[in-house]
């Protein structure tokens, strides 16, 4: 071991408010028409909204007959302004409690965001859940600062996630982050131009050539990735010399310009990060999500 410090990162978390925010498990909707995949084929695919009983964070991204595949539970709120509060304030790693239905009292964890907030529950709980069931999200994390890294901002990153990740400070003063992939800017698609805290940004892994060439065929939901030349501090966009760190929030997306969603958790100058390529860096392990 070298002299690099693996001590707990100092933060302002004792100043952050924990809020209870209501959410309701969503229901899928379907346009009465076809979308078109990257090869020009009309298609109708499930994957967005509601409860997905057989895909969980940690499962593979590709190889599903789905589009914008959301693992586990997808929850929103029927009232638009309350929905926005949920969407902006929920953070990855936040705890969630079921407050109605047969699974009342069971607990889950926020694992990502898309049009809705994505939540993992143990399989036995997931099997009891249905659209319309009510949840309470303990929102905690927006406003989090990592005190020794003032040039890095966090977005939708709970203190629980920050401390669960094996982060450390390099001798050069950068934040070392284990990542399974570093994504080039040209694959960043739908989600560019939106607020950093809102939903996620699709990585345009829609064409098999692109997935193969970038060596991303084994990507998993929940994986931690770095995004090169991306400035996600105040909205998401391209800027050379900046970097963003994210988590794969949803799986396969097949419509051109869309793809696999990555939620931003940090951004700052490239030199403030030291992404470390590793074979496995997944929030299922970090957050010890139960089977």
């Amino acid at each position: 071991m070298c002299a690099e410090t693996a001590t707990r990162l100092a933060t302002n978390e004792d100043r952050l408010v924990t809020l209870g925010i209501e959410a309701t498990i969503s229901h899928p909707t379907q346009s009465p028409s076809y979308a078109v995949d990257a090869d020009g084929r009309p298609m109708i695919r499930p994957g967005m909204a509601g409860v997905c009983y057989n895909t969980r964070v940690g499962d593979r991204v590709f190889g599903w007959a789905a589009d914008h595949l959301e693992p586990g539970v997808s929850a929103g709120h029927p009232q638009p302004r309350r929905y926005q509060a949920l969407q902006f304030l929920a953070c990855v790693g936040n705890r969630v409690r079921v407050t109605s239905g047969p699974a009342k009292g069971a607990e889950g964890v926020v694992t990502g965001k898309h049009a809705y907030v994505l939540i993992d529950f143990p399989q036995a709980v997931l099997d009891q859940l249905a659209p319309g069931d009510r949840l309470l999200v303990r929102a905690h994390g927006q406003g989090l600062r990592v005190l020794d890294f003032p040039s890095i901002v966090t977005r939708s990153c709970s203190p629980a996630l920050l401390h669960a990740m094996p982060l450390r400070r390099t001798p050069a003063g950068a934040l070392a982050v284990p990542v399974v992939a570093e994504l080039p800017a040209y694959v960043m698609g739908a989600g560019i131009g939106m607020s950093s805290e809102w939903a996620n940004c699709d990585v345009m892994l829609t064409h098999p050539d692109t997935i193969w060439r970038l060596g991303l065929g084994n990507l998993r939901m929940g994986d931690v990735v770095a995004m090169r030349d991306q400035d996600h501090r105040f909205g998401r966009g391209y800027r050379g010399g900046m970097c963003a760190i994210g988590i794969v929030a949803h799986g396969i997306g097949v419509i051109p310009g869309h793809g696999t969603g990555v939620i931003t958790i940090m951004s700052g100058p490239a030199e403030s990060f030291a992404p470390e390529p590793v074979a496995a860096a997944n929030i299922r392990d970090y957050l010890a999500l139960p089977a």
Binding site: A35, V36, A38, G40, P184, A185, Y186, V187, M188, G189, A190, I192, G193, M194, S196, D202, M204, T206, H207, D209, T210, R213, D229, D231, H232, R233, F234, G235, R236, G237, Y238, R239, G240, I255, P256, G257, H258, G259
Partner: protein, 293 residues
């Protein structure tokens, strides 16, 4: 070296009427948007009538955000607005149907879609007509061009491309490829907001937060109405990255300081098989080609 005139399926194209009303700017109670640098800005320039911004003018340098040249129209019914925004083509003729300027003619210059916000068709009218227009006036678009294709080059998809613009632009066939004049070529990593949207109605922003990239690719002096190509970008149906593809469009609205935004490109042509060859021409601007002043 001149090529051969490229033929389109002109006789197959239906000319249909779609209408829109001149919009009015709209805001939330809090006027501030946050720039990519974290500064609050008050966006001005979307919706309604711009008396002093028209195609041919610079896309950069306005104290505004995504400024729309000329007049922006939309239909108050969402489904009818979708039809307006898909069927209207750049170069199509537009007639004012109500109000003090009834009978005046204009030209479609682009489209501007903002996800979950608005879909506008942008229309050029001469300055004297602009003075007589009001938000709410109805404009009739003689929509012509939906379904336009090149029988000789089936790999090319056309969107929002009116025969009026096609004739003025006059792309040439040369060595089995379509040579189109463009003012700039954009790399795919600068394509921003608008990715994944329907190619026929989308407007994809060219991201401008990185000034060095703009300089390197000759994008700093772009004008409203400039024809530009995008490398490795597909827009056959939905629009996104595809290695080896090429998309050509027109700069429809001005720059933005918001992250991921910038001058918007309304899509005109796309191919994934190398059928299009962009030819640099600083004068490739629809204001010059269509004589809009």
């Amino acid at each position: 070296m001149p090529g051969q005139r490229a033929e389109i399926n002109r006789e197959e194209l239906v000319m249909t009427a779609v209408t829109g009303e001149i919009t009015s700017p709209a805001m939330d109670g809090n006027p501030y948007e946050v720039s990519a640098n974290g500064e609050p800005i008050v966006p001005v320039g979307v919706g309604g009538i711009r008396y002093n911004v028209r195609v041919g003018m610079p896309a950069f340098g306005w104290v505004g955000d995504q400024v729309e040249p000329g007049v922006s129209i939309a239909h108050p019914l969402e489904e009818a607005n979708d039809a307006l925004n898909i069927f209207a083509c750049v170069g199509n003729r537009v007639q004012v149907r109500g109000g003090d300027a009834a009978g005046a003619w204009g030209t479609v210059t682009g489209k501007h879609e903002e996800f979950r916000a608005y879909k506008h068709v942008l229309v050029h009218l001469d300055s004297e007509t602009l003075e007589r227009l009001l938000p709410g006036d109805t404009l009739l678009v003689r929509a012509h061009g939906c379904g336009l294709r090149l029988p000789a080059l089936p790999g090319i998809t056309c969107h929002s491309l009116g025969p009026e613009l096609w004739d003025a632009w006059d792309p040439q066939l040369r060595d089995g490829r379509l040579v189109v004049r463009v003012a700039a070529i954009v790399p795919p990593e600068l394509m921003g907001s608008g990715s994944g949207r329907l190619s026929a109605a989308a407007c994809i922003d060219l991201q401008t937060a990185d000034e060095e990239m703009l300089q390197r690719h000759g994008l700093s002096a772009l004008r409203l109405g400039d024809l530009v190509a995008v490398r490795d970008w597909d827009a056959a149906y939905f629009t996104g990255y595809r290695e080896g593809a090429l998309t050509v469009g027109v700069i429809a609205h001005g720059d933005s300081r918001l992250a991921g935004h910038g001058p918007g490109i309304t899509i005109l042509l796309s191919c994934s098989d190398g059928s299009i060859e962009p030819a640099m021409d600083a004068a490739a601007n629809i204001a010059l080609l269509l004589g809009l002043a």
